[in-house]
């Protein structure tokens, strides 16, 4: 692994998503093999179990994790982030077990955007984004010119360059999410994880965020995993979907393969209608009733 966290794919920018996409298959960046996890009090019955799951994530790929609340999406994300070691099986990033990576090494390779980002004292966007350079610095850690250049680039890519002198706590939801994304990009990760990043965002900001993630995945060669409740946005922007239900991985595949009306009705417990647009993207409409 190279210490800079920069890979060959990141250096040469790739073509955007489009019909020209059959390209030689790249080796998976992340491979999850029969990984499981169980929350259990000492000696007690387990409270929640994520059953053994297997899939991989490739460079440039945007993977969406779907499922109801409590289906194990966040647990899966924490397995990918390496903050939970799997109870069985393996979660590997370019051949290394993520939960055994040294903290700094891991932070150079995996960036996580969490749902809530509480701040104790006011901080400006620029300083906040600079925090993303922490895994690369040593000692007293004064930021270098290079750190500044990376942070600027991250701000541009996240669409937050105009916010750099603003205070974090005075930003709107959408602006704040861009700043948080910029900090994650400043980590120059191989794998970018986002836990319900569209929560509290209005529709325009949601679409904007997903479009950016799509572009970042393509241009930078990052593997991006997004946990979300937005079925239609996931169908529109994700390459593949992982569908979870009560700790079980029901399906892994392209949106077309996963979005089956009956399957989704059963998982989400609501009446819905799936149609396939001319472009082949599934579209979900909700009719308001309940399944049994």
């Amino acid at each position: 692994m190279n210490p800079g966290g920069q890979t060959a794919e990141q250096a040469n920018s790739a073509s955007p998503k489009g019909p020209a996409r059959p390209r030689p298959p790249e080796p998976p960046r992340v491979s999850v093999e029969l990984a499981s996890y169980s929350y259990a009090p000492e000696g007690g019955a387990s409270l929640f179990t994520l059953e053994a799951t297997s899939f991989d994530v490739r460079p440039r790929e945007l993977l969406a994790v779907l499922g109801r609340n409590g289906s194990g999406k966040s647990t899966l994300l924490r397995l990918l982030a390496g903050t939970l070691p799997p109870l069985s099986g393996r979660v590997q990033l370019e051949g290394f077990e993520v939960s055994r990576l040294d903290l700094r090494m891991r932070a150079q390779r995996i960036a996580m955007v969490q749902q809530e980002t509480p701040l104790l004292f006011p901080v400006r966007v620029w300083d906040y984004v600079m925090q993303g350079r922490h895994p690369y610095s040593r000692g007293l850690r004064f930021e270098t010119e290079e750190d500044g250049a990376v942070a600027r680039q991250a701000l541009v890519e996240a669409g937050a360059d105009h916010l750099r002198t603003r205070w974090m706590h005075k930003l709107s939801g959408g602006e704040k999410q861009r700043a948080v994304l910029a900090r994650a990009l400043a980590q120059q990760p191989l794998l970018l994880l986002l836990d319900e990043p569209t929560l509290h965002l209005d529709i325009a900001a949601q679409v904007d965020l997903l479009r950016r993630l799509r572009r970042i995945a393509n241009d930078r060669g990052y593997a991006v995993v997004v946990v979300t409740h937005e079925l239609n946005l996931a169908a529109e922007f994700a390459d593949r979907i992982v569908l979870l239900d009560r700790g079980k991985t029901l399906r892994v595949g392209k949106p077309v393969e996963v979005y089956e009306q009956e399957l989704l009705q059963q998982v989400f417990g609501t009446l819905l209608h799936v149609e396939h647009t001319a472009r082949g993207t599934p579209k979900v409409t909700f009719s308001g009733g309940e399944t049994e």
Binding site: P118, L119, L120, H134, S137, F142, G148
Partner: protein, 338 residues
């Protein structure tokens, strides 16, 4: 780009050190007996050159043997308490944390009193007792402040206040039931007092101060990230467990150090970091050294006022800091709730 540079760090610290020097000079001058500037300058000049015979012995006694040691103690106590406060604020992720408000100072006071009672003959027993008391009180407050596995701001403050009052009751109980020569002056000492010379040489105290602040300073960059939550910090490569342990032990050492020297001087650890943040921002790489110097300035100023305002009567310096600090605390609390 605005970011902290070593240059900005040095300039800020140099400016604060300048203010502190100036203040020390005036603090040497003023007192029950004021000394004229030329006399003071000549005294310091000749002392610095080692020509002690050319100095009035009266002035020498007042300035060098009464005021100077006291100022030195004020510097050590102010720096320790302020850095401890700034550290507790990051550690407990609570901007209102302060060794006094959290009951850590009371723990240190109880520890030093117990060590006086049980191990009076051992040298260094008081500071060590104060440190042990501070560690125990911090642990107690930490567990009282947890709710559902998370640190809760208000549970923490309440836990601190309750710990402080419980420990104060224990201290009162000890003081009324045990009569000993050492315990007599304690009522004054508990209010925070710098007039009693420390039994430990200031050089040693200074060494402990530098070690404690230095240890915390090695985690300064990590503390910046810890302010955003432990999970977030971990995702950015911070070894959260190690940082918390270093800061917890060092902040307890600093609190123990301050309390064993001067009793419980309140609110310094709350006010000084807040003022420094307002002036220079909340980057801990700058905040820690600036807070150490700012704390020294604050306590030297408070003590100078305490001994000159109603001269020849002296106020305990803790009363001075509480007079200013308590209203500031209420203000910060209300602003937070608004």
């Amino acid at each position: 780009m605005r970011a902290l540079t070593p240059r900005k760090l040095l300039l800020t610290c140099a400016a604060l050190a300048g203010v502190l020097l100036l203040l020390v000079f005036f603090s040497l001058k003023f007192g029950t007996r004021s000394i004229s500037l030329p006399d003071l300058a000549s005294l310091l000049y000749h002392t610095a050159l080692g020509q002690t015979d050319r100095v009035s012995s009266d002035f020498r006694l007042i300035v060098l043997e009464i005021r100077w040691p006291r100022i030195l103690l004020a510097i050590i106590v102010g720096a320790s308490l302020s850095v401890a406060g700034a550290s507790f604020q990051a550690l407990l992720r609570n901007p209102l944390a302060d060794p006094y408000v959290l009951g850590v100072s009371s723990g240190a006071a109880l520890g030093s009193i117990l060590s006086l009672i049980w191990f009076a003959e051992l040298p260094g027993a008081t500071p060590f007792g104060a440190f042990a008391g501070a560690v125990a009180a911090t642990a107690a407050v930490y567990f009282l402040g947890r709710r559902g596995g998370e640190l809760d701001s208000y549970a923490l403050l309440l836990g601190g206040i309750i710990t402080a009052s419980f420990l104060s009751a224990l201290i009162m109980f000890l003081m009324t039931t045990i009569s000993g020569r050492e315990l007599r002056g304690m009522a004054f000492w508990l209010m925070g007092d710098l007039s009693t010379p420390s039994p430990v040489a200031p050089g040693w105290l200074f060494l402990v101060l530098v070690a404690g602040v230095g240890a915390i300073y090695t985690t300064a960059a990590d503390l910046n990230l810890l302010l955003g939550g432990e999970q977030e910090a971990m995702h950015l490569g911070v070894d959260v467990v190690r940082v918390k342990l270093v800061v917890y032990l060092s902040a307890s050492v600093l609190t123990g150090l301050a309390v064993s020297v001067s009793g419980a001087i309140g609110y310094v650890g709350l006010m000084v970091p807040h003022l420094v943040r307002l002036l220079f921002g909340s980057d801990y790489r700058l905040l820690i050294p600036a807070t150490a110097l700012g704390g020294a300035i604050a306590v030297v100023l408070a003590d100078t006022l305490a001994r000159t305002l109603f001269a020849p009567t002296e106020l305990p310096v803790g009363a001075m800091t509480a007079l200013v600090g308590a209203p500031v605390f209420i203000y910060l609390l209300r602003r937070r709730m608004a």
